[in-house]
């Protein structure tokens, strides 16, 4: 039986990371659906989700065969590369060095590129719309798959982490169905900052365990690691912000 205390970090990391990626994929699917027809957009999305689920289902048991300390070292290092990458980019965006991701601009760019192509017959299946939705969901979903596997594999948490990702999909789809436009008000950079902090903390913990380091307090060490990455991220943002004033990612 998995306790909520064990599963909560995996579920929340998968949920928050998925929220960011699903919002980005949703914008492109929305553009494809609006301009090329919903049948193809929904079909492309469904196929991509099935491919992503297949990757999780196929990789999960394979990873369970890898010796635990080696798995922890590899996944921990990948988590550091991925999580610190997100944290770095979020800090640069928060400081105004790199522009924030704009869902409205992304929607407009996607719509402009699609409107240049001949419109499909009303009754026919629009392959272009389907392929665009498929690619968007597959490419954005790869990061979600990695996070689900990274926080879930080796600890029997693949299912809870997958449920966290699924919950994010449901939330975005439900809100998207109601508002029917890009979800530009989601605080994407703050979410990326938070996920970067969580994944970096997990990364240090797992890499250390993979190297044979017995952390004092075991899992509890993830909390001070997270606090340190949060502080370092905010401090770095403040250091590079042109007119350093407020500390908000």
């Amino acid at each position: 039986m998995i306790s909520l205390t064990t599963a909560a970090p995996a579920i929340s990391a998968a949920f928050l990371a998925s929220l960011v990626e699903v919002v980005e994929a949703f914008t492109i699917v929305l553009a494809a659906g609006t301009l090329r027809g919903w049948r193809a957009a929904i079909a492309g999305t469904a196929v991509a989700v099935a491919v992503l689920a297949l990757i999780v289902v196929a990789l999960g048991p394979v990873l369970d065969q890898v010796p635990l300390h080696r798995l922890k070292l590899v996944i921990g290092t990948l988590l550091l590369l991925f999580g610190m990458g997100w944290l770095r980019k979020a800090a640069l965006r928060a400081a105004g060095i790199v522009p924030l991701h704009d869902e409205n601009a992304s929607f407009a760019a996607q719509a402009a590129s699609l409107s240049g192509v001949a419109t499909p017959r009303r009754a026919g299946f629009d392959w272009l719309g389907g392929v665009i939705a498929f690619k968007a969901v597959l490419l954005e979903g790869l990061e979600v798959v990695f996070i689900v596997i990274a926080v879930g594999a080796g600890r029997g948490l693949l299912l809870p982490a997958s449920l966290g990702a699924l919950a994010a999909c449901i939330v975005v789809l439900a809100i998207g169905a109601i508002v029917h436009r890009p979800l530009a008000r989601v605080p994407e950079n703050t979410l990326k900052f938070a996920v970067g902090v969580i994944l970096s903390a997990f990364g240090v913990f797992w890499t250390g365990e993979g190297l044979g380091i017995a952390w004092p307090g075991e899992d509890l060490m993830i909390l001070p690691f997270g606090a340190a990455f949060l502080f370092a991220g905010l401090r770095a943002t403040q250091l590079v912000r042109p007119s350093a004033s407020v500390l908000t990612p």
């Binding site: 640069l92 790869l142 250390g208 990455f229």
Partner: protein, 72 residues
């Protein structure tokens, strides 16, 4: 084929988006591993190097990236 190339590119970008950050992290992990397995120092020293090294690499990477972006 094109899709596979895009998937491969996306995977590469996921982990090696910034080359200097990746090199820094891998150097810190290697150093921590060497220290932890060397036996001459307690394994926790390797842990401290790993943790503090990652923090330093993060801050340095943000500062260096900001400088690169500011160069006209």
């Amino acid at each position: 084929m094109n899709l596979l190339r895009e998937v491969a590119g996306e995977l590469l970008k996921m982990f090696l988006g910034d080359a200097w950050l990746a090199v820094g992290i891998l150097t810190v992990v290697s150093l921590a591993g060497w220290l932890a397995r060397r036996g001459a120092v307690p394994p926790l020293v390797g842990g401290a190097v790993l943790f503090l090294g990652c923090i330093v690499v993060l801050v340095a990477s943000v500062v260096l990236s900001a400088r690169r972006h500011r160069v006209p």
